[in-house]
């Protein structure tokens, strides 16, 4: 089994997920810190769709574009590594008089969600390595 087989898409996907969630954490912290700043519109990192798309387009072999008139296969070059996420504005439904769009409850919800999903991902990574170790040792 090639090394590429061991550290397959799963690990790379988990890795990317951790990276993006850690970055999202920055945005949520910023929204909470600016909960009272006039004119501040909360932002978030949106990447779930992009990640899903990249994962869906990964299979199907690789057909290289050798002629500029070739139509590239869907997903070509849109690999997991290229997923960067998009910064989107997520203002509350009713923006206050001072133009601040932060809703504390909303941000807390997002914070908890991000944290739980991050921890879940870390746990899966840990399990992945554990099973790899089991396979190497050959005995439990």
């Amino acid at each position: 089994m090639a090394l590429d087989g061991i550290f397959d898409t799963t690990i790379r996907l988990l890795e990317k997920n951790l990276d993006l969630r850690a970055r999202n954490q920055n945005f949520i912290s910023a929204n909470l810190a600016n909960a009272e700043t006039p004119g501040y519109i909360p932002t978030n990192l949106s990447f779930e769709g992009e990640l899903k798309e990249a994962l869906k387009n990964r299979g199907g072999g690789s057909a290289s574009v050798t002629n500029p008139r070739h139509i590239p296969l869907k997903g070509q070059g849109g690999g997991l590594d290229k997923v960067q996420g998009r910064v989107i504005e997520t203002p509350a439904a009713s923006i206050g008089k001072d133009g601040n769009g932060v809703e504390l409850e909303n941000e807390m919800g997002k914070l908890v969600e991000n944290q739980i999903l991050y921890n879940a991902t870390v746990q899966i990574v840990s399990k992945q390595f554990e099973s790899l170790k089991t396979a190497i040792k050959g005995s439990i």
Partner: protein, 145 residues
């Protein structure tokens, strides 16, 4: 690891809310101060928050784009409330004017109390965010065990 940006942002929020809390305490403590160094009664003080990019300094050179678009908070200035002072009739007061009125600070204690609750909650939210970032970082470190 990028969690330090998150902690940095949260601590900027905590510092800003603490400044706000200090000013609220000052307002409540001086709710009846008729004399100040600048002359006249005490005036209510209020911080003005402003969102500034979290990048900058050494960290931004080290990180490529981890903190792009992330804003921390900063106290841009401390504003003095320019609303007129409360006038109270008390001719025996040493600071009373010709008509026997004393200019008292334009502080409304109830308003300050409400502001204080809001500042406390905002501070707590920042603490929670910092705790979340810390627990995530620790979870990641646990992978090494």
């Amino acid at each position: 690891m990028d969690f330090f940006t998150s902690m940095d942002v949260s601590s900027s929020g905590m510092a800003a809310e603490r400044t706000r809390m200090n000013l609220i305490s000052s307002n409540i403590a001086n709710a009846n101060s008729t004399r100040t160094q600048e002359g006249g009664p005490y005036r209510r003080k209020d911080p003005v928050f402003s969102a500034v990019p979290a990048t900058g300094g050494f960290k931004s050179v080290m990180d490529r784009d981890g903190a792009a678009g992330v804003k921390k908070v900063e106290v841009a200035q401390i504003r003095e409330d320019q609303s007129p002072p409360r006038m109270q009739y008390d001719p025996t007061h040493p600071d009373a004017d010709g008509q026997g009125y004393v200019a008292l600070p334009n502080v409304n204690v109830i308003e300050e109390m409400v502001d204080m609750i809001s500042a406390t909650r905002a501070y707590e939210a920042n603490v929670t965010a910092a705790q979340a970032a810390k627990s995530m970082a620790m979870k990641t470190l646990d992978l090494l065990r």
